[in-house]
Amino acid sequence: MSAEILAFLVLATATVAGGVVTLWSRYVVHSAFGLMLSLLGVAGFYVLLGSDFLAVTQVVVYVGGVVVLYLFGVMLTPPDREERSIRRIAVAGIFAVAALVVLLKAVFGMEGRWYGVDPDRGPASGGAVIREVGNAFMDKEAYLLPFEIASVLLLVALVGAVFIARREGGRGS
């Protein structure tokens, strides 16, 4: 068993275990930490897949930002005791199994079609690729417009989040 396979198995275990903890824990704080473990596992997969920049982005944005935001949300709200209803679990299970079947069919129904590599591309190297990504974001012909729209979206969300979470009527409270 090579080191890469071992790393894959360890990361897969961490990711899935984190996801299961997120779903099953009765304590929302435990759910948040399970989500953190899962997101770190996904960041590890990004490294294995050769997208180092995305791995760093994942850690900074998700683990450093989103999970901390969730933890703030957890702290601002008291624990909520919820019932486990059999009907709900059954319905969710049916949907999950149906989605699993569809996804498995998608993964295994496409054998051989992934490998249509652009013949002009040479062997991949992470450093060259991230340069291409940067150029694509700044290229009018490529993704410049979506990139700018994303910045406006972030600004709108920032202002909107502050406005929504503000206490009604109170001034500066």
Binding site: I5, L35, L48, A96, D118, G122
Partner: protein, 119 residues
């Protein structure tokens, strides 16, 4: 069928870590997505519902990057993944703000208490 599932499919030359088959990564992403769907449907706590959405978005990102690696680290995969991460961050910020506003309104996060629009 099972043999083809577990077989190490031939990967393209020159991609990072070619000993890890792309189908394994896709399977893991599918599993993560299923976990997200299950949590989204089964949990009633709004915070955990949001966390399930994050799991699903991450599964989609993993699929993008697995496909990008298979295509000699196609930069488009990373571009789309960055957009997905942006939208996820926006969703978390606005979602948490809505959650706080909602909690002020009714002092619970149970999604089944939202019944005003039922006929």
């Amino acid at each position: 069928m099972i043999a083809s599932i577990l077989a190490v499919l031939p990967a393209a030359e020159g991609i990072p870590n070619p000993s890890i088959p792309t189908s394994w990564v896709l399977l893991l992403a599918a599993l993560l997505f299923i976990l997200g769907i299950y949590g989204f449907l089964v949990r009633r706590d709004l915070i955990v519902v949001f966390m399930s959405i994050e799991l699903m978005l991450n599964a989609a990102n993993l699929t993008f990057l697995a496909a990008a690696r298979e295509r000699m680290l196609d930069p488009e995969g990373q571009v789309y993944a960055i957009f997905v991460i942006t939208v996820a961050a926006v969703e978390a910020a606005v979602g948490l703000a809505l959650l706080i506003a909602w909690f002020r309104l009714r002092a619970t996060l149970d999604v089944e208490t939202a019944v005003e629009l039922e006929g």
